[in-house]
Symmetry: C2
Subunit: 141 residues, 2 copies
């Protein structure tokens, strides 16, 4: 339901959250997240522009999370790279509908809201700490 770009951004943010003190280059993140580096570089720029990550220059430069994982929702990350948008007016441009959506387009908005809800309620910290057989981005022992 979310775009490839959004999924890659989520992987990148989780990667940075795994070692919050150590700046990571795009190449470092690409290796862990298995995202093609040229694609990831664009994702990282969007995350930096929207202040989800900080780009630290210098010899040991790289990206760092700009927020504590408990204060960063998955929705913040998704909306930084590929914002989830609801229908605001009739997609058919029916004059008498305008912003009064019909039942069909209301349902489509409900589905979008439901996705927003799942991602709004989940923080990056939850992804790191929730008990699960598999840990995000890491091979199990």
């Amino acid at each position: 339901m979310i775009s490839q770009t959004s999924e890659y951004a989520l992987r990148a943010v989780v990667c940075l959250a795994l070692s919050p003190e150590a700046p990571k280059t795009t190449a470092d993140i690409a290796k862990v997240t298995k995202v093609p580096e040229y694609y990831l570089s664009k994702v990282m720029l969007a995350l930096a522009k929207n202040e989800i990550v900080i780009s630290q220059r210098g010899l040991h430069g790289g990206y760092l999370l700009a927020h504590e994982p408990e204060n960063l929702s998955l929705l913040d990350v998704v909306n930084a790279v590929d914002p989830i948008k609801k229908l605001e007016s009739c997609p058919l441009k029916l004059e008498t509908h305008g912003t009064n959506l019909c039942a069909l387009h209301k349902r489509i908005n409900e589905s979008i809201s439901s996705v927003e809800g799942v991602f709004r309620e989940t923080t990056v910290k939850t992804i790191l700490t929730e008990p699960a057989k598999s840990k995000a981005l890491i091979e199990s022992n």
Copy 2:
């Protein structure tokens, strides 16, 4: 959250449900739904192949709904043209994850399930009969 193709298919099915006795050509449906005819023709073929609509041949031929609107969910329509798919295994292909998804990919599946839920619980009849200021596909009086 759903594709353009799915949204067009939903419009087409609602269009057929508005006058269930009268077969409609692709051109008729395109006019009401405001979908480009060349695109709609592909959508209608997919709907026919998946038995959501019936293609009736002959002089007064056209498409008819293959089901009563109360027995047809929006999810049936969406899945006929662009099936909603959940992640079944780790998108990073981590060997030790396999089908044991991590918390991140579980959340992505939850978001997909939530969309499925909205469309599964809504029938085409509901779209036609739910009180609303705007009726699907029709200019208000």
